[in-house]
């Protein structure tokens, strides 16, 4: 399935990343793979988009990062912060209202993306 255009992804991408991290910390490549796999490619994003997005989320205090060098390859893990959880909760409500509104207009539900 074709992914969404960049403009649309900019708003959805960060919410999607926060949602992924809700379950536990992940490293960059893992996030890319998860977005690709779990959204059937709709929210797939290259590293050129992901890493600046992660840096921004980190700058805003929604995620925190740490390097783990105990494995075969060094990895930088990102996890959700308390602020990040609040942000995710707020964004989820907004998305919910948005999808309801979209559905009321007869547009296809996108709720599955955030499930």
């Amino acid at each position: 399935m074709a992914n969404v255009d960049g403009e649309f992804l900019r708003g959805a991408g960060s919410v999607a990343v926060l949602k992924l991290l809700e379950r536990g910390e992940m490293y960059g490549y893992e996030i890319v793979e998860a977005l690709e796999r779990r959204t059937d490619g709709v929210l797939a994003m290259g590293q050129s988009t992901l890493y600046p997005m992660l840096y921004n989320l980190e700058a805003k205090g929604f995620v925190a990062a740490r390097w783990d060098e105990t494995g075969t390859r060094p990895r930088k893990y990102y996890r959700l912060t308390a602020d990040g959880r609040k942000k995710l909760a707020a964004d989820a409500k907004s998305w919910h209202r948005l999808t309801v509104a979209m559905e009321s207009l007869g547009l296809t539900s996108v709720q599955g993306v955030l499930a």
Binding site: G28, S48, Y51, E58, R73
Partner: protein, 610 residues
Amino acid sequence: MSPDPEAMGQALPAGIAALIERVVRATRLRRAERDDVRRELASHFAEALAAGTAPAAAIAAYGDAKASARALRAAAIAKRSPIDRALGQMFRFAALGVGTVAAVYVLFGLYLAANGPRVSFDPLARLADVLPKPARAEDVAWPRYREILPRLGLTEHADDANVATDRIDGGAGWPGRAPADEQGATWDEQRAWCDAHAADLAALRVATKLPVLGMPITEPLSEADRAVFSESTVANSRQFFADTQQPFRAFGVLCPHLASIRQAARILALDATVAASRGQGSAAVDDLAAIIALSVQVQQPRFLICDLVAMAMRSVACSRATILLESMPEAFTDADLVRLQQSLRSVPKALTEMDLQSERIGFEDAVQWMYTDDGHGGGWFNPSAANLMMLGGFGDGSVNGSGDDAVATSMLVLTGPAAAMWVADRRELMEFYDAWSDELLARKAWTLRELHDAPPTQTDIPLRSGDWVVKSRYLIAALLMPALERVNWSFAADRAQREAVDTAAACARFKLAHAAWPARTADLVPAFLASVPKDPWSGQPVQMKGEGSEFRVWSVGDDQIDHDGAIARDGKALSATTLPRAPRDRSGEPVPCDWVWFAPSGSIDRWFAE
């Protein structure tokens, strides 16, 4: 221990490593931030490769490297602390400001390089305008001097005539006195020399009466002038006129005649002594009057050096006249003395006061070689490399002769804009010069006492002090404006000296008329003087006392204390300038004495050292 980020990148396939480096470099982040980005991207690609992604596919999946770098940079900066970001912003603004200033500086330097000084007037033409013009060709004295001076041995040539005259000029110049040194002529030899040159001295005296000196000030020395001047003097003169691009032209080159003319004045003083010693007071007065007339001619043009030489010549005449009146009064008739007084009073008033007109031409000429305007605007200080080096005392203005052209030019480009912005512009400089001139000229008629008691001029104080701000802003003035504070004093001394001799001559006339000395100065008025002579040091009538050989007239002198006419010997009156200033003792302190105008004791002892 975290692995080296660069090593991590290099462990990846070349294409990926290059992509990572391209992105990292394009972020223009700080080193630690770049390392973090590099490690993260390297980690990402390593994961992709480990998952079986082909390098080319991994590269393709990365996306737009440039956009990524921009986004990474923005995000990394957003991660910085607010203070850090503020400092970074400040640094960027500062760098931008410095860059802008540097760019403007360089542009200004290029502008200056393309806009050199604008030379807008010919100083020699201005000089010609202020020189007196002869009504007739025969009114010009110089062609006559050109013939007379060689016959008198008063030239720059090392010929026999000059050697003989040097012996005369170096003699003590007084009957019965031994020569001043081994080379000096005896009195008999001096007298014989004067007799042998009587016709030439007569011709000299006649020439001094002509209204125009006519020295070729505004044109090169001619072939005919070689009769007086040496090869090098003629060459210097021609060089001056040929090299019109030469700044800082030394206008003194235009006055090579001063030395010979000044020597002629001393010879005339000797001839006056010879004449008086023979009882020929009239001839002596002719010589003294010729010196004064010659001094008036020398003040064409009014360069300060000309003024100073003229005043030195008049001082010689005044000293010699006083000595002759004191020691050989019988040589003089009333008519002789009247003529002497007339001669002393004949110096035009304008020539007895400071005049900076010609000096200003020289100053303006130097200035016009260093400013970009044409004289009507402010202009930028922008001397050429050659001028700059001369100004800084680093050479003769010849860039080729002083070092590396490229170095000099580079220095100029680097320092030019700063100097142009710092150094006073042309209008400011000329206003400074005018203020300074005005202050000096306001004092031009002051008496010796007024000048002695006055503080330095307000303009002169900062210029001569250690105020580097003023000194550097008015660099040209500090370097080119002579210290003129003392010149007004020289003019005041010149006026006072002539008044002193005028008074002495009036006393001598009184004695001839009444067979006694006057009892008080008022006795001299109006028959012998127009008004009671004032002491230039006290502002009061000059002091007078005594009978017979004890009679004397005096001013209280520079210590402004009346020592009852006490005399101090200065020991140099016959050969050098005597100014109305007390001699100094060995410790430099003034000897307690008065400035004695007239002490007709019949002896010349007071004029020589004990």
